[in-house]
């Protein structure tokens, strides 16, 4: 674990920063020509299993954009995949599960994670990247939150309506809770090992939590998420919790205890700050689709995000979701420059 210098970690802790830190979800990915060259035609899980390759992919956006944080090149299904639960990532579709979880008996197929034995390649990637990064650039590790990982395991793949996962939680809450408890333990084991290997902060992706009503989130998703965040906090690194479409859940998600709440583009940051409360930083929230417009438009929208954040204190600039593959990397580089130049400490107009 690093000493925790640099603007990203300071912002997570709501300490003074020289400028608003910035990174982009999916900054390492298809928008970068150097990524497309390096990845070639192998599968994404093969690339993740190759520490030299993954370390290089993780570092590419730091070199290209000058962002304040690198995020480990990996995927939220890696722990379940690495323990032998059949899953593949289908290009253009997402994680697809061979035999979804549909009954209590299916839980037996989900064995505990042995981080070094099962995912030694991830930890080696962390060590390689940590060695290369300048001390002021943070390395972010991550895991999927139990609900979101469970949604893939139960639905069998990406879903529009989450009908099967909601049916399971409502029809058989005992099996549901057992499932998310196992996934919480897996996330804790993975994140603890990542921290030991050298990540400076951790993001928990509860990408699809926004499909739940507040009552269902509170009952079926929040407790397991809280357990993961509690365990990581005890390790002394800042935590970020993120999902899309979570406007109605921000208060509940904050109560799970992250240091930073990730906000999608639907909730203006001043509104988000009210829901999240003064004890959490916020991360976000430029609409990724805006980055496909001419730079004058992107610049205006970037300034609007900075203005809504109100102050550089406790604000990590990011997109409201992942970089779209068709994004021009030149635009993202210019956004970083703009945020660094205009996102100074103190109240903004």
């Amino acid at each position: 674990m690093s000493a925790g210098t640099g603007p990203f970690l300071a912002a997570c802790r709501r300490e003074p920063v020289p400028h608003t830190p910035v990174w982009f979800m999916r900054q390492a990915g298809r928008a970068l020509p150097e990524y497309r060259r390096l990845r070639g035609s192998g599968s994404i899980l093969q690339a993740i299993a190759d520490p030299e390759l993954s370390a290089e992919i993780t570092l590419q956006p730091v070199r290209r954009y000058g962002v304040d944080a690198a995020i480990l090149f990996s995927d939220i299904v890696v722990p379940v995949w690495a323990t032998g639960f059949g899953v593949e990532i289908v290009p253009g579709r997402g994680p697809v599960v061979e035999h979804p979880i549909r009954s209590p008996a299916d839980l037996r197929r989900l064995r505990p994670l042995e981080p070094e034995g099962d995912t030694g390649f991830v930890l080696e990637t962390v060590r390689l990247v940590a060695r290369e990064l300048a001390p002021e650039v943070a390395l972010i590790g991550f895991a999927g939150a139990p609900f979101t990982v469970a949604s893939y395991l139960v639905e069998g793949g990406p879903s529009r309506d989450f009908a099967r996962v909601k049916t399971l939680m409502h029809s058989d809450p005992t099996t549901w809770h057992e499932l998310v408890e196992r996934l919480a333990q897996m996330a804790i084991d993975s994140l603890s090992a990542q921290v030991a290997a050298g990540v400076d902060a951790v993001q928990l992706f509860d990408s699809w939590a926004g499909s739940l009503s507040p009552a269902d989130y509170e009952r079926f998703a929040l407790p397991a998420t809280r357990r993961v965040l509690d365990a990581v906090r005890a390790l002394g690194v800042p935590t970020v919790l993120f999902g899309v479409g979570t406007g109605e859940l921000l208060g509940l998600m904050s109560s799970a205890g992250p240091d930073v709440m990730g906000i999608d583009w639907r909730v203006p940051l001043d509104v988000a700050r009210e829901r999240v409360g003064p004890r959490r930083a916020v991360q976000g929230n430029l609409d990724p689709a805006v980055c496909l417009a001419p730079f004058e438009v992107v610049a205006d929208e970037t300034r609007a995000v900075l203005a809504r954040a109100g102050t550089a204190a406790g604000h990590v600039f990011n997109l409201g979701h992942g970089v779209l593959p068709e994004t021009d990397p030149g635009i993202l580089g210019a956004v970083v420059e703009l945020v660094h130049a205009e996102g100074r400490a103190g109240v903004r107009p």
Copy 2:
């Protein structure tokens, strides 16, 4: 136009009701065995073009469930399709457009709607259904809101990120505004003809408005929606405005002037009432996926919706989105009975 009796119309106008009225979005559809038998293997657009068949499909859920409103069996892309803009509805996917709109020149392919000439079959369906319905059961006509119809025409089909439609609005606002103005006029012409043919109320589906930030919604979607609602209000029938994931937009959408705001399951109705204000009724908002659970669970969640609504005044019970095809019709029938029995006027516990 009917005299406007019955609980649905009274609730839309926030007048006293004998019981909370209830209907379900997509109540006429694949969940009903009698629908699957009748539809056979023809395309949905072929079925819509057949007034006898469409009228029967519209009436099936009224007979089966005893709901307080029928909704015309049609689709939001029918007006553009009927004017010769190439679009088909692909089962399991949704509307797919042959040559999407990408430039100002493409707007020429979007000609004005002549309701009787282009969509006489829709108006004939309205007349057939209106003749069959008991006076206390309302007939709801509908149209797609300009933004949502435009999203199909620009994206070429359903979208996850709405990247192309957002790129067009940000890069070429002149073309964008011309596009939504044309679609607003088309919706006005279609809805005016539906009202003349006998619908008692109108729902405007802005299904995907929730993909927009509040600032983008206000600038790029709200003005055209307001124009449609103004025009329909002048005809004297109540209007409902609905979209999913619109929690942050409810105040802005209310300012467009609907009598009733449709609320998805993410926003508890008491919170929605605050955002919508006292001058609008609310419609919703049981999570459609809950209806796949055992009835004890569905009953609890139905009661929770009634309790959050606070009073039967100005509340139309509905799901928070369309009926899922795998829903047991027996469950929906039992929900109607429960809402009618327990959703009485006056404040609820």
